[in-house]
């Protein structure tokens, strides 16, 4: 997805002088071509995330469309106040693009995990929040949103899904609609695992790449079903609950630091977010429903 980000932005920058890249010493080699073609619009600014965001706001204030990019928790957790004030409160737009997702840097430990970025940025006034899942989504949504008058957050991962989804900003996708009483809702790259888990189960499956604004109209279509949110982050459950009075459950992160190493797949398995565990969670819920429906 990072390579797609670079390719899309490079294509856009060839036609659009307003694009400026601000890096926190990440993805620098990948952007080598961009730097060679547009040396005055490429800044590997340093490992100073607070200032990266403030500078991005300053560039935006003067009509540029900047992209600030580095590792997820460092840009979003550390610089939350710069995003909140310098971008959202000042009404300076700009594009915040992160890599690392929740557990892409599993082997680096919990300092490099991101649990709250989507949830906390979703709560900032003016923000647009995207949990992108595929290369197609990266390409389409950067193209549609990079000139947005609002600050836009794009969360990337090294483990994209390859499933066809609606790439329109603010729109979700119904991937399975069996008129079932249970609907699984998910977002981002974990769709691969959720799809595998639910493929032959009698549930509906709905997917989102845009967490803010969330597709409320789509959620309303499943209001009469029980909703199981499967997500390897916080933020989607909270976004869906913007629609009032839903019957919802969350199957996702524990209230703990996931302090193991290995790979994203190892951690997901440990916390019940691998395909088998997701399937088991869905099956348990289906069994509970069936038990509850049985005459006594």
């Amino acid at each position: 997805m990072r390579a797609q980000f670079k390719n899309t932005v490079s294509e856009l920058a060839a036609q659009d002088d307003s694009i400026v890249i601000v890096l926190g010493d990440i993805s620098v080699y990948m952007f080598k071509d961009f730097w060679e073609k547009h040396p005055n619009r490429f800044y590997n600014m340093g490992i100073c995330e607070n200032t990266l965001v403030s500078v991005t706001a300053g560039l935006s204030s003067q009509g540029f469309n900047p992209f600030v990019h580095t590792i997820c928790p460092f840009l979003t957790d550390r610089s939350l106040e710069q995003i909140k004030l310098d971008m959202c409160y000042n009404n300076f737009a700009g594009n915040i693009v992160t890599c690392g997702a929740t557990f892409d840097y599993a082997w680096d430990g919990a300092t490099h995990h991101a649990y709250t970025d989507l949830a906390s940025l979703r709560m900032l006034p003016n923000m647009e929040v995207l949990h992108l899942g595929s290369k197609r989504e990266v390409d389409a949504l950067i193209r549609s949103q990079y000139r947005s008058p609002r600050p836009t957050y794009y969360r990337l991962s090294d483990h994209p899904h390859t499933i066809e989804t609606n790439t329109e900003f603010g729109k979700g996708t119904v991937l399975k609609n069996e008129g079932a009483p249970l609907t699984v809702m998910t977002a981002g790259p974990i769709l691969t695992s959720v799809m595998e888990a639910c493929r032959d189960l009698p549930v509906n499956l709905v997917y989102f790449h845009t967490l803010k604004p969330i597709d409320k109209a789509l959620i309303e279509q499943f209001r009469d079903t029980e909703i199981l949110v499967v997500h390897d982050a916080y933020g989607l459950y909270e976004a869906i609950s913007e629609v009032p009075a839903l019957r919802m459950r969350y199957h996702g992160l524990p209230d703990a630091f996931c302090g193991w190493y290995g790979t994203v797949h190892d951690i997901r398995k440990r916390i019940g977010l691998d395909p088998a565990s997701i399937r088991s969670a869905v099956q348990t819920l289906l069994a509970d429903r069936s038990q509850a429906a049985r005459p006594r």
Binding site: N40, N50, S54, A57, G58, L59, S61, E81, D86
Partner: protein, 260 residues
């Protein structure tokens, strides 16, 4: 004291008395710096959005009353407009909001943010190939924030010779985390540093006019509450306090008796 600076201070006192709000000593310490900037930079109060204007960012946003009165003195609006300072529906909050007040380029308040935004603005001017200049005013207390020094490093490394940082050295952090010798620190970061009397309007203007090929820092040695002995000798008591009517009269007398 220059007449315009005395007028600005007098209105700061009146508005603080009327509104019940205001960081008066910290606003007083920057009046000459603000005046020098607005008498130097390219701007047009009748066209606050003039595309070729220079930009000023008040990074120490709590000195907003001094900022508003300086903008009023230069024709952006009337002093009377600012009398609603801090009121519910007022445009003029105790920290400046760029979406409400003409002439305010960035909304500030949380310390250590404005200078980073100013660096981005100066970089934008460079990328666009314009001659526009960017000025930002930071506090010595604000400079406890690491983000100030991040921003300075980035500004120096990106060779922003169109950026001027005015440093209000009013000793506000002596009781807490003193900066020590700020001129030496900024010089060590690679800036073109001048240290000067922060209430000497001609000297500040002269320093602003001097050409430079580096990030310019003016370390302005100032006195909190400059112009009123009562304020400058009781800075902690007056840090965030509005004068009552009898106190206002006394402060106005001190101000108009001449600079201390």
């Amino acid at each position: 004291m220059d007449d315009i600076c005395r007028k600005i201070r007098s209105e700061i006192l009146n508005i603080s008395n009327k509104s019940g709000h205001g960081h008066i000593p910290t606003s007083f310490s920057i009046v000459e710096m603000l005046t020098a900037v607005y008498q130097t930079m390219r701007h047009d109060p009748s066209r606050p959005d003039m595309p070729e204007r220079d930009l000023f960012v008040l990074s120490k946003g709590h000195a907003s009353l001094g900022f508003y009165c300086t903008l009023a003195a230069h024709g952006y609006f009337s002093f009377e407009d600012v009398y609603a300072f801090g009121a519910f529906d007022s445009r003029f909050g105790c920290h400046p909001d760029r979406t409400k007040v003409p002439g305010v380029e960035a909304s500030t308040g949380s310390l250590g943010h404005g200078i980073g935004i100013a660096v981005g603005m100066a970089l934008a001017a460079k990328i666009a190939g314009t001659k526009r200049k960017v000025y930002t005013l930071i506090g010595d207390g604000e400079s406890n924030e690491g983000s100030v020094w991040e921003a300075v490093m980035v500004a120096v490394n990106t060779k922003l010779d169109n950026l001027t940082v005015l440093y209000d050295n009013n000793q506000s952090q002596g009781r807490c985390l003193p900066i020590g010798n700020p001129a030496e620190r900024f010089a060590a970061f690679g800036c073109d540093v001048s240290e000067l009397h922060g209430h000497d309007l001609p000297a500040i203007k002269q320093a602003l006019a001097k050409p430079t090929d580096r990030v310019r820092v003016l370390v302005c040695n100032t006195v909190k509450g400059y112009g009123c002995e009562t304020l400058s000798e009781n800075v902690y008591e007056w840090h965030r306090r509005a004068p009552k009517p009898d106190e206002l009269n006394k402060l106005q007398e001190e101000l108009h008796a001449g600079a201390i």
